[in-house]
Each structure stands twice: as C-alpha cells, then as structure tokens.
C-alpha cells in the first residue's frame, strides 16, 4: 500500500515540477521579467499575449505557410525513409559490402544541409518552369536527403541484428526470400524504423525550415520567420516560431502515439 502511494506521489511530482517551472517562465515572460533578464525590449521579445493575438489575427496566412512547410517536411520524410529502407534492404543482402555503403551513407549525415539547399535550387531550375512547383521540389529533395541516412543506418541494423538462428530456421522451412523478408526481417526492423523516425522527423522539419531560407518562392514558416526578422517585425516572427515549435511537438507526439500502439500489439504477440 505504501509503495503505490509513493509511486503516485512520484508521478504527480513528475508532472507538477515541470508544469510549475513552465508556468513560472510563462508568467515571467508575460510580466516582462524575462525582458529585463535578457536585456531585450518588448519589441524583440513580445509578451505571449501579443504573439497570441497575432496568431489569431493572421490565421489564414499562417495556415497557408504552415501547409507549405508540412507538405515539404512530410513528403521529404516519407520519400527519404523509403529510399533509406530500400538502401538498407540492398545493403543487408551482402553484409561485407553493405556495411561499407552504410558507413558512407552515415557520413552524409555530417554534411551541412545548408550547402545542399542552393545546389538543389539550381538543379530544379531545369526541371520545371513553374516557380511554385520547382521550389517545392528543391525543398523536398533536401529534406529527403537529410532523412535517408538515419533510416538507412537504423533499418540496416534492424534487418541484420536478428535472433540467433532465426534466419536458419526460416531456411529450413524452405521459405522464399520474400517470405523471409515478410515474416522475419520486416517485423524485426519495426522498432529500429521508429528509432530512425524519432531522429528524422525533427530533422525533416528543421531542414524544411532551413531550405525555405534559400528557396526561390517566399513561402513557408521558416521563410516567414526570416522575412519578418529582416523587416524588424519581431512579433510576427515570434508568432511563426511558436507555430513551428507547435508543429514539431504535435508531429512528434503523433509519432510517439503511433509507435506506442504499434509496439503494444507486438508485445501481446
């Protein structure tokens, strides 16, 4: 009885402490204490109430930009993850050569994405004469490249780190390669896929925001942050920052929920 009570207290304090901290920071921000601490005026760091009213006043415009960013980030994430998984499947066929390829793929993780954005802008100029379409394409390609590596590295581990003799067992069943993949490799790689997604989902949003800085067409949350800072409209920029943070958090929570429900089913099995 005593232990359950203690756990409850633990659980409550685990929520209450951060919540209290958040509320204190929020109140300090609203009350202007944060401005004094950071030596900024209310122009560069406007109180939350003002940011909030800007978000509600410009809902239509913000949603338009948000849509552009979400499309780029999610399509890029999807394509990149598929390519990464495909690469991992190919690499897992021959471990000796495959692991070398995966090492090279992980090296791409270290390439600054900023360098990729202008390259893709130049490349897509030759694909389409429509600015909307080609700047979207350029941004999506950058996000895609960013997402490939983490998926390839993790899925490769998921496809190769099997239980001992699991593959031999499948062989004794005379299972075809496709059956082995469907029944053994694919389920085995699912947790690794989620590990990869937990890294590449925030990365996809960040790279979508960053490539927007360089893209031809002035659209997207990231571009709006920059445009508004350049024109010294900090309150509007803050509104877009808050929106981008919410986007990141909401998508991440959705991913965690999906992961939870998928993994729960597996545990019962």
């Amino acid at each position: 009885m005593k232990t359950t009570k203690k756990i409850n207290l633990d659980g409550i304090s685990a929520i209450m402490y951060p919540l209290a901290f958040g509320i204190i920071v929020f109140l300090m921000w609203q009350g202007g204490v944060l401005n004094t601490l950071l030596h900024t005026d209310t122009n560069t760091l406007p109180p939350p109430s003002r940011i909030n009213s800007i978000i509600f006043d410009n809902t239509a415009k913000i949603l338009l930009n948000l849509k552009a960013t979400i499309i780029v980030a999610l399509i890029g994430l999807l394509l990149g993850s598929l390519i990464g998984y495909g690469t991992a499947i190919i690499a897992a066929q021959n471990k000796k050569w495959g692991s070398g390829g995966i090492t090279l793929a992980s090296a791409f993780n270290a390439v600054p994405i900023v360098a990729l954005a202008p390259v893709m802008n130049n490349l897509t100029k030759h694909f389409s004469s429509n600015v909307d379409y080609r700047s979207m394409l350029a941004k999506t390609i950058v996000v895609m490249i960013v997402c490939i590596a983490s998926m390839a590295v993790n899925a490769y581990r998921g496809l190769t780190e099997l239980k001992p003799f699991a593959k031999d067992l499948m062989k004794t069943y005379a299972a075809s390669n496709f059956t082995i993949f469907k029944k053994l490799l694919l389920p085995n790689s699912v947790p690794y896929v989620f590990t990869a997604l937990r890294v590449s989902l925030p990365a996809s949003i960040i790279s979508a925001l960053v490539t927007e800085y360089f893209s031809e067409k002035v659209i997207g949350v990231g571009r709006q942050i920059r445009e508004n800072i350049v024109t010294a409209q900090f309150a509007t920029a803050w509104a877009y920052i808050i929106v981008s943070c919410f986007l990141g958090i909401v998508l991440y929570v959705i991913l965690l929920l999906v992961e939870n429900s998928v993994m729960k089913n597996r545990k019962i099995k």
Partner: protein, 276 residues
C-alpha cells in the same frame, strides 16, 4: 575472434571502394549534365569533381589579394573556431546538467520534459531571433552552436549515468565511498562512451549551425562566403569548393570525436570494435 580480425581488415578497403564509387557516380552525372543541351551553365548544377579540386590549387587571385583556396580557408578557420567555441560551451553545459540531473531528482524532473521538447523545436529556425536577442552576430553563432550541441550531450550522458548497474552502486556503497568518489570513480568513467555518442552527433551540428547563422548577415565565415559566391560575386567554383570543404569539415569533426574517444578510453577500444 578470427572473424572479427578479418572484418576489421576488410573494412577500410570496402569503405575506400564505396568512396571511389561515389565519386565515379558524381563524375558520370557531371558528364551527363555537361552533355545535355538544355542546361546552359553546367557548373551551376554539378561540375566535375576534379575541376573543383583544380580550383583549390589554382593560383589565380579571385578578389585581388587571395586565391580561391586561401579565401575559403580564411573563412573556414573562422567558422571552425566559432563552432568549436559553441561546441565546447554546449558540451560542458550539457555534461554538467546531466550530472546535476542524476544528482538531484527535482532538477531531473523539471529539466527532462524540457530536454525532450527542445529536441522537437527547430532551433535552427530560431536562428534569426537569437540574432536579434544577442545583437551581435558572432555571439549568436556561438550561442546557437552551443544550444544544438547541448541536448544530444545532455540526454546521452544522462542515459550513460543511469545505465550503471545497481551492483556497482552497491559495491561503492560497501566501500563507504563518498558521493563525489562514486561519481569520479564509477559513474563518470561509465558514461564516457555515451558522452561520445552525444558528441559525435553534435559536432557536425555545431558546424552546420555556425554556417547557417553566417548566411543571415555579412562578415567573415564560410556561410557569408557561400551567399556571396551564390550572388555571382566570384566564380561558381568557389561555391562548390565551399560545399566540398564544409562537407569535409563535418565528416572530419565526426571522425575527430572518434579519435579523441579512442585516446581517452583506449582500454575500451576492443569492446567498441566488437559492438561495431
């Protein structure tokens, strides 16, 4: 063990072949780009790799006083220095916070959810606002590099501190070890591999951050040079040289962390090789 040795020997060779293969594909695409009639300026899309390297050794001065490689190197040095500064500040804060979080439950409970949230917030997207906070572009470069370095280091170190087996805690307790002795002798050595995992993630991030913030305002730094070369102030090959060099710096920073890890904990090298 024999297999392990074999694997170790063949690895550099395989990587070498892959790297060569990558450059061969680059050259083939560059050749196709050059050959296709619709693309008027192939050097804007994808030039030959050897031409980029040739630019590096070109002795022609591009802005009156410096050759291409001198100019890029000058800027790269500044970028490296700034990201190194941010990296060290961020890594130390992250490490200290992880220790603090493992020491007191209250700090851990307060900080942990926020560490998770920071991970989901696009910090690089906030670069312009941090610039307007600090007012000084150099400070904001360091600050953003530090923020990006901070959370992989903090979360990984904390995971390392908590992964120490209960038996080790009990052993230290039976030795009547003081709290600081427990940390110095057991916990900190145990979390070193985790710390380096965090450092390996964040070293290229710190460099990306520094380059990105460069592009927001003029001055000196790889990112500033990058935006200048894009505007056509100098030959397009300078731009490509920057792309190649920033990629190389990113990869080298990752490798450097591995080398430092080997130096710091050489006794664990064999263990790591097994894990790989």
């Amino acid at each position: 063990m024999a297999e392990l040795n074999k694997k170790k020997e063949s690895n550099p060779f395989v990587t070498l072949v892959w790297t060569l293969g990558f450059f061969i594909i680059w050259e083939i695409i560059a050749f196709l780009v050059e050959a296709s009639p619709s693309i008027r300026s192939p050097e804007k899309v994808l030039p030959h790799f050897w031409k980029i390297i040739a630019t590096a050794f070109d002795s022609k001065k591009i802005n009156g006083s410096e050759t291409a490689i001198q100019l890029v190197w000058l800027n790269a040095k500044v970028t490296l220095l700034r990201s190194a500064q941010g990296f060290f500040i961020g890594a130390s804060i992250g490490f200290l916070l992880a220790i603090l979080m493992s020491l007191t439950n209250v700090v851990k409970k307060i900080a942990f959810p926020y560490l998770m949230i920071i991970q989901m917030i696009p910090i690089l997207g906030m670069a312009p606002i941090i610039l307007s906070f600090t007012g000084d572009i150099d400070t904001s470069r360091v600050v953003i590099a530090a923020i990006l370095t901070f959370y992989p280091v903090a979360t990984n170190t904390l995971a390392g501190l908590e992964a120490v087996e209960k038996e080790k805690h009990e052993l230290m307790y039976s030795y009547a070890a003081k709290k600081w002795q427990l940390y110095i002798k057991t916990l900190i050595p145990a979390c070193i591999p985790y710390l380096f995992t965090g450092l390996k993630v964040s070293a290229p991030l710190a460099i990306t951050a520094s380059i990105l913030v460069d592009t927001l305002q003029g001055g000196i730094g790889l990112g500033c040079l990058l935006s200048q070369s894009l505007k056509g102030a100098m030959t397009r090959y300078v731009f490509w040289l920057i792309v190649v060099i920033s990629a190389a710096i990113g990869i080298l920073s990752y490798l450097l962390m591995g080398i430092i890890e080997d130096l710091v904990s050489s006794h664990k090298k064999a263990e790591r090789a097994c894990k790989r």
